[in-house]
Subunit: 148 residues, 6 copies
C-alpha cells in the first residue's frame, strides 16, 4: 500500500529492452497539490519570475515540510544583495555539483548560470578550476602534505 503511494508508476523507456523501471518518486503537479504545497510553488514562481516549477520541487512536494524548509533556505542563501553576486553563487553551486557528480544539479545550475549571463569562456574556466582543484586535492592527500 505504502509502495503504491510513493513509488510512481511512470515507466522510463530507457535501459535494457526488457526493463520497465519504476521511477521511485512521483512528481506532484500544481493541479493535484495541497494548499501547503501550492503556497511554496507560488512563491518559487513569483520569486524567480517563471510560470512553472522544476522537477526538483515537484519531487520534494512528497514531503511538504522538506519542500518548504528547502525552498526557504535556498531563497535566503541565493538571494541577491549579499556580499557575493548571484552568478558567483551559481558557479559555487556548479563546483559542488560537478565534484559530487549530481547530474540533475549540474544540468539545472548550468542552465541557471547560462541564463544568468555566464559566457562560454567563463564556463570553460570554471570547469578548468573545478578539475584542477580536484586534482590538487588528491596530490595533497596522497603526499599527506602537512599544513603550512
Amino acid at each position: 500500500m505504502a509502495i503504491g503511494y510513493w513509488l510512481s508508476a511512470i515507466a522510463i523507456a530507457c535501459g535494457p529492452a526488457n526493463s520497465t523501471r519504476m521511477h521511485p518518486t512521483r512528481l506532484i503537479e500544481y493541479e493535484e497539490a495541497s494548499d501547503e504545497v501550492r503556497k511554496v510553488y507560488d512563491d518559487i514562481m513569483a520569486t524567480r519570475k517563471v510560470d512553472k516549477v522544476n522537477n526538483f520541487w515537484k519531487a520534494l512536494a512528497n514531503h511538504p515540510v522538506t519542500l518548504r524548509r528547502t525552498w526557504d533556505s535556498l531563497k535566503e542563501v541565493m538571494a541577491p544583495g549579499g556580499a557575493l553576486d548571484p552568478l558567483t553563487k551559481e558557479l559555487i553551486y556548479i563546483a559542488v555539483s560537478v565534484t559530487n557528480n549530481c547530474e540533475y544539479c549540474i544540468r539545472s545550475h548550468t542552465k541557471a548560470a547560462a541564463k544568468g549571463g555566464l559566457s562560454p569562456e567563463a564556463f570553460g574556466e570554471l570547469q578548468a578550476v573545478i578539475a584542477m582543484a580536484n586534482e590538487t586535492n588528491r596530490l595533497a592527500n596522497g603526499y599527506q602534505v602537512p599544513v603550512d
Copy 2:
C-alpha cells in the same frame, strides 16, 4: 633502501602518547633541491611575489615532473586576465576542497582568499552556498529527480 628515501624521518608529536608516526613525505627544501626543482620554486616565488614556497610544492618536488606539470597547469588555470577574476577562482577552489574535505587545501585556499580580499561576510555566504549545494545534491539523488 627505497623506503629510507621517501618515507621521511620527521616524527610528528601528535597522536597517542606511545606513537611516533613517520611522515610519509619528505619536504624538499630549496637548499637541497636539484636545479630542475629550484627552477620551478623560483618561478612560483616570482609569480606569486613571495619569498618561500608552500609545503605542497616541497612535497611534489619528490617527483620533479609532477611538480613542474602541476605548477605549469595551476599557473595557467589561475592566471589573472581571464573571464573569471582570481578571487572567484579561489572561491571555486574552496568549494571543491570543502566538498572533498581536503584540510590542507581548505586552509591554504582560505588563506589565499583572505589575502585576496574576501570579506568575512563573503566567506560566510560562500560556506552557506557550499553547504546548501551539498544538501540539495543529496535531495536530488535521494528522490532520483529526473532532469527537467
Copy 3:
C-alpha cells in the same frame, strides 16, 4: 578474446541517436550459470524468499569468488536478529548510497525499504536527515571546526 567475453553485446538504446553503447558487463542468467554460481543464486532466492536474483548478482557472477564472498558478507551483515532491525539497516544503506550517488543502490534499497514497510513520511524524514548531514558535514569542513 578477452574483450569478447566480458564486454557484453547488449546495446543500450539510450543516448545520442548515433550511439550504440556496449554495456560493460554481461549479466549471467541462471540457465547459463556454473554450479558454483547457481549455488549462490539458490541461497539468495531461498534467503529472500524470491524467485529471481537481481542484476547486481548476475553481474558479480562474472567473478564467482566475489559473488560468493559478497553474498556471504551481505547475508551476515543484513541478517535479522541483531541489535539493529532490518529496516533500520536499509535506511543506513540508503543514506550511504544517496551520499555516494549510486543510482542502482538507491533504487534497489529504496524498493527494499518500501517493501519492508517504510512509510512515505519516514522516507521523507530519511531524505531530510541525509541532506542535512551532508550540509553540516561541509559547514564543519569549511569552518575547520576543532573537535570538542
Copy 4:
C-alpha cells in the same frame, strides 16, 4: 584587516615542530556574542538541556544568519515525534558523516548516539552496514549494473 578578523590567532601545537598553524576560524564564546547569536545559543541549550554549545555553533556564529538558519533546520529535522525516532536519525547522520569522512561530525554524532542509548553491539552493526554499503556501491559502479 579582514584577515585579522576571521583568521583566528589560536595556534595549534600539532604538526611539524616548526609549524605554528593559524586556525582558520574564531570560535565565538557566549560572553562576546551579539544578542542575535546569544538568542540562538540560548535556544540550543534549552532544546538540548545542556549548559554550553558545541564548537560547531561557535564557528557558525561568525555568520549569524547561517547559524540561525542551520539551527532552525536541524532542530526541525532532528525533532522527536516524527516517523523516525531520534536515535535512528543519529545513525543516519553517522552513516553520512563516515561516508564523507567528516571527523568533527563522526565524533559529535557518535557521542550523541552513545548518549542516546546506542549499545556497543548496535554501534558495531552500524559500522558494518556503512562499510558494506560503501563496498557494494562500488561493485555496482564498477560493473555498471543496469537498474532492475
Copy 5:
C-alpha cells in the same frame, strides 16, 4: 546568444516521455574544429594510433586551452616507459573513476584496459580490491582508528 553557443541542441530521447532534454555540451567534430583544436585531435589520433577522437575531447574542445593542457598532461602521465606500465595505470584510473562513480570514465577506461589486455579474471580482482578498499576506508573512519 551565449546560451545558443554552448548549450547544444542535441535532444536526448531518454527520460520521461514528455521531456526533451537539452544536452549541455556541444561536441566539436573535426570538420568544424579550429586549427588549434585540430592540432590536438591530430596528436591524439597519432599517439593512440586511432582514427577518431572520443567524445571527451570533443567536449573539451569548447575551451581549446583546457583541451590542449589536459591532453598534454594526460599524454605525459599515461606515457609508456615509466616505472608503472600502461595497464597498471589504467587500473588506477578505473579505481578512481569507480570510487567517484564517473560513468563516462568507468566505461572508457574499462574499454581501454580490455583493449590493453586486462583479462576477465584480473578485471574481477580489480573490482574486488576497489570495493574492499572503499569498505575498509569507512571502517577506519567510523572507528576513528589512530595512525599506527
Copy 6:
C-alpha cells in the same frame, strides 16, 4: 554504562590547548582479547609474518564478527597468486584511499607498498595518475560528456 565501554578514555594531546578529546574507540590489545579475537590476531600475524597487529584490527575487535569477516575478506582479496600481483593491489588500494581522503588508509597502504618494493619513482607516477583521474572525472562530469 554503554558509553563507558566503547568511548575510550585515551586522551589525545593534540588540538587546542584546552581540549582533552576522548578517542571514540578503545583499541583491544592481545592480552585483553577474547579467544575469538585472538584467533584472528594470530592468523593476521601468521599470514603477514609480523609480530603485532595494526590499530585497524584492534579497533575492529570491538565487534568480533566484523573483525573476523573483514579479515577473512581482505585475506582472500589481497592474497598472492591471483591475476593481479600483490603490489598492484596495494596501488589500487592507495588510489581509492587517496580519492576518499582516508588518512589512516593512505598511510598504512603507502607503508605496505614501500615495504612491497614500490620505488619512489613509481610512487610519484601513482600519485600523478590518481590526481589526473580525479581531474578528468570532473571534466567528464562538468561537460556531461555522453558515453561514446
